[in-house]
Symmetry: C2
Subunit: 190 residues, 2 copies
């Protein structure tokens, strides 16, 4: 799995052996079962995880107790409650494993040590943050200037393998609509 992490990081920047091992040696294994949470709302997130299989769902609870999915993270990827990790405030978001998964965990304190010690690792952190920002921006834009139907079409075009597996109820709130409306959009499309 560490080889996959190396490959994953390589898309951002080529780390030398020394730098990569510094990271890899600080990571610990953890397993999550389907539907378990990597981060829960109200808790402060102090870790990041790398995973190579399955996907995570980010969701919020409304005052009425309804779940609103705000994001999906598909493998291979690094996942964390970004806002909580950075601000040290309790997370607003639940980060839920949607499959049985194996994780490689890195604690925030170790991450910060790595950032301080290695310029290149700080840089990877920047590149990842930039990517997170761009993704969030894209999602935001799709909500502002596309119809629910367009958003759904794009979602299945961009991630066909995964979208098949995701129950509609989770996708609908990600698109900013109800299950029923999504079901109707879907009928129209086919």
């Amino acid at each position: 799995m560490k080889e996959q992490l190396r490959q994953y990081l390589n898309q951002y920047i080529q780390l030398n052996e020394n730098e990569f091992c510094a990271i890899a040696n600080l990571m610990s294994e953890k397993y999550l079962r389907k539907k378990e949470h990597f981060v829960k709302a109200t808790s402060i997130c102090n870790k990041v995880a790398f995973f190579t299989k399955g996907y995570f769902r980010f969701y919020y609870l409304t005052k009425n107790g309804d779940e609103i999915t705000s994001d999906f993270y598909f493998a291979p990827n690094i996942v964390t409650s970004y806002t909580s990790l950075i601000t040290c405030n309790p997370s607003d978001v639940y980060v839920q494993a949607m499959d049985d998964m194996k994780l490689l965990i890195l604690s925030k304190s170790d991450l910060e040590k790595l950032y301080s010690q290695y310029h290149n690792i700080d840089r990877v952190g920047r590149l990842i943050a930039e990517k997170v920002a761009i993704n969030s921006e894209q999602h935001l834009l799709s909500l502002l200037n596309q119809t629910a139907e367009e958003r759904y079409r794009n979602l299945i075009n961009n991630n066909p393998e995964f979208i098949q597996k995701i129950p509609l109820q989770y996708i609908s709130s990600y698109l900013g609509i109800t299950q029923e409306t999504l079901s109707r959009v879907r009928r129209k499309i086919k």
Copy 2:
């Protein structure tokens, strides 16, 4: 104005004199008049700007030619078309000065040299990217789980000084609604 830049960057990290001057010496002055663009859609953005007065508006054009405001950046701040700068793709977004403004400009190539040369500057870049990601996430969430009325209330609570100055037509699309709907929300609130 460079002193204000120093102060601005200090909120992220304390740069030493050497690091700060490396940045400041590469920046050039530029003036924009109200309604002029710092970045235009279809052009590739290769610069960032620091400004101490006024605000910028980010907007997109729909297929029908309607403008959709996606963001506001209030002084003092650093502004750029983030996605275009990072991906080197043409910008989807217009970045428009909403006041007469003085800018300090840094080119992308100089920025990248600074990133490579100074670990601390790379780090500032990371911290700023993280902040951009968090802001975008907040805006996204407000669209997913708040009503237009709640979004409007939050906007005026968080930036009362500025919101007064922004024409409704620009705010409404930022909130994901039409001018007319915003006008009705507003009547209800008062």
